[in-house]
Assembly symmetry: C2
Homo-oligomer: 535 residues x 2
Amino acid sequence: MAGGTRSWWGWGNVEDAVRGEELDALLGRVRALLPDAELAPVQAPPVTELGLPAPRVKPPSALEEICSAELTDRAGHAHGKAFRDVVRNLAGDVRSVPDLVVRPAREQDVVDVLDWCSRADVAVIPYGGGSSVCGGVEPRLDGDHAGAVSLDLGRLDRVLEVDRTSRAARIEAGALGPALEAQLRQHELTLRHFPQSFEFSTLGGWLATRSSGHYATVYTHIDDLVESMRVVSPSGIGESRRLPGSGAGPSPDRLFLGSEGILGVITEAWMRVHERPRWRAVASVHFQDFARAVAATRAIAQAALFPANCRLLDPMEALINAGTSSAGGVLVLGFESADHPVAPWMARALELCRDHGGEVPDPVRDTDTGEPGGGRTAADGWRDSFLRMPYQRDALAARSMIVETFETACTWDGFAALHAAVQGATATALASVGAPGVLTCRFSHVYPDGPAPYFGIYAAGRPGATLQQWDEIKAAVSDALIAHGATITHHHAVGRDHRPWYDQQRPEPFAAALSAAKKALDPAGILNPGVLIDR
Amino acid sequence: MAGGTRSWWGWGNVEDAVRGEELDALLGRVRALLPDAELAPVQAPPVTELGLPAPRVKPPSALEEICSAELTDRAGHAHGKAFRDVVRNLAGDVRSVPDLVVRPAREQDVVDVLDWCSRADVAVIPYGGGSSVCGGVEPRLDGDHAGAVSLDLGRLDRVLEVDRTSRAARIEAGALGPALEAQLRQHELTLRHFPQSFEFSTLGGWLATRSSGHYATVYTHIDDLVESMRVVSPSGIGESRRLPGSGAGPSPDRLFLGSEGILGVITEAWMRVHERPRWRAVASVHFQDFARAVAATRAIAQAALFPANCRLLDPMEALINAGTSSAGGVLVLGFESADHPVAPWMARALELCRDHGGEVPDPVRDTDTGEPGGGRTAADGWRDSFLRMPYQRDALAARSMIVETFETACTWDGFAALHAAVQGATATALASVGAPGVLTCRFSHVYPDGPAPYFGIYAAGRPGATLQQWDEIKAAVSDALIAHGATITHHHAVGRDHRPWYDQQRPEPFAAALSAAKKALDPAGILNPGVLIDR
């Protein structure tokens, strides 16, 4: 929630941490699943006890006003929000910390910071909401630079312009999800990009990491909602034209989308926005057999029905995160529209499900809010609990549980083998590190040619050793993903932590081209060193 | 049609040129529209009279077998198929001609050709079907290289592999449209990419130029149908993973899509294919007012109904190319599906049209072929006449008519001003060059945030001067596009002819990045010099 006290060590706001009845219920569910879990709580140390070194760099006087060397700022910007970040914070293990946190108030400040840092060999880590789960905002520099600043775009948070006719809005990169939605709502518009990090991640972060969001089909990634972008690089400012489509050379925007801050700092973008949906239909389909559930989901993905939600939960995921028991998984289907009732779409999707053995025990929940975007629906409830999950993850991480996710994408043809390989690698790794646990799987997004499987691991770790245990599990499953032709990430980005697998995945000539592009745009090599490519 | 004799100077096959009754009818229509047109025919000279210089380079003996110095080959590969190419050919004005036409029989041949040419400073012009309309395949080198070869991928024309489960096919880059569709049809699949050049353009050409095709919405460009690509560059071969979606760094494919042969030679790609549609619905909506027709089209584009066809014709376009008289234009709407009847989709789209004053004089043509892909429909008839247009263009170009198209994209908000500016610039330019003529406009593709307007010019030129006349008109309208924030091309690519406007359009930092990427992948600078960026 906006306006709270950001936790320096964990997700979101201090005031919103899991406690009381929610905590009791959560721990109860864990004990039922993993009776041997110890669940002994630890507390994060105060930032004054982290032993942070004094800043190694001093900003030019013209920039002093936007620079902070405050301990909580620096500690809070040292890590992202992965499980391994939270565990290290809880242990007081904060080694790579920015010397300063810089908060530009206007684009020229960004230009000036890049100028100063290029001259002074200071690494610049572009920072949106800080929700990276792959080491994307951590100044892990191996001594290559005179220092590091975290460039926090949070003050650039306005919707600057709205073109209602073209359904587009010019938005500053530092706007957090709720802030930009609140501003768009005044125009009865919405971006409808709802990653799990929604409350504490920014437009610029979404663009830089090719975030995926609300839509299970068609507009899966933020890439698809970009009309144009403005990027400040050390060698100049670039702004692409506002174009609905173009074939003029390789897409300029696509080079910066996913560039994770190594080529420039995104300062604003024209985004394609939507009218707020009025009609919604939601249904849950139960299956006796997971392979048939996958086949049904594939049929829907290939039917060009374009559901907004097409989330297949495997039986363990359905049990843990939806409280539903099913032998073959549950497919949660949702259609929505600001323009028309969606019953024909849902009817055909359910027909496809029934063709594959799906059963629909409850009636379809049809909603017509009567006006664009009014009212609350079942989907809102799921979203609330979805947004709550990172807080619960922290509560468990502080009780020596291993709770983490990883995600990928693969072809339909390759899914069964990949799934088996991930299950096998996880089981072996859990046994090897001595952590009893479970693996869940859902499809977060689906495409005509394949799903984006999203995996969760819940395991009882050994107090004080969960970081090493997780790193071993993560390496094993990452190896399995790469060996089976999948991507190391569908929407969590690469950062520093995914580099070993990303380096195997990407075509070598592309890596050479990207390195050359970086040298042209960032000749001093100050931008997010170590992310995506070698320094 | 496959198997004919390719014309060295004009579109397609010699056997299919416009003659007899078709020619009489065509000239009759022109005389009705432009009574002053002279229409005196000229004939292209035989290639032996072009005075082509002897080849300046000699291939290594290992490559001799795949090299041709034959005059018709060289003359036929000198130009693309723009109006200005055809006019120059008809005048025997063929100055930039490749020294050799090289036809690799396997990927290793491509590697060997790039090796040889890098060593010998020979420019390599990747060549698919040769249908470029922007100077993309013309070896206009200004003496910077020892010679030039046209690398014709036409022998690499097979569908190598089909993954029916994931609906994907691995296809060689040199496959022409009809050849790849014929091979896919054996699997009851289709790529459904039908640019106007369909019969004489290749998969590799579509990918290298970001071709747009059949689908008016969602999958507008070939980019959206790519699962992975294989590219041979002078510094190595790259192949991206087969992934339905990914967020691992900037998209490798998107750097090569639209790279127009300057970064490497695309040799094959995994493409997303479809089942052949069974259900179709087609309707024509008439409007009294073009602005209201545009508003209706916008409403459909923003309603997420995703028609396959959403072609708004202005009154002149409707008259000339559809034989329909209407005060405010005609919207041709088409829905299609391999999965379900499309009546609800069409019903809602027509409702939106009626809300904006549209009238539907004829009943919706609903088709159910009863089996996937069987039968012919009205859409097929339109496609046939659509594919016939380039032949008719040639017949008119040979009779001193100026017949050419240009296309762009813009936001909905900017369309009216852009349209007026293009109309104004065209009228002024036509008057200035003394060519009475008309301008037509249609939307080839539509997006939630804007249309892709496609313009046609039909003017009575001065015999012997139509090239200069067209160049002046083209410059005037291109200036108008750029001044009004539009793109110099939505799907015709940049090549050499669009450079002055492309250079104004693209962000400068992106140009620097692209140049750096090219230097890394093509250190000798042999690949399609002068296209997209400076040598």
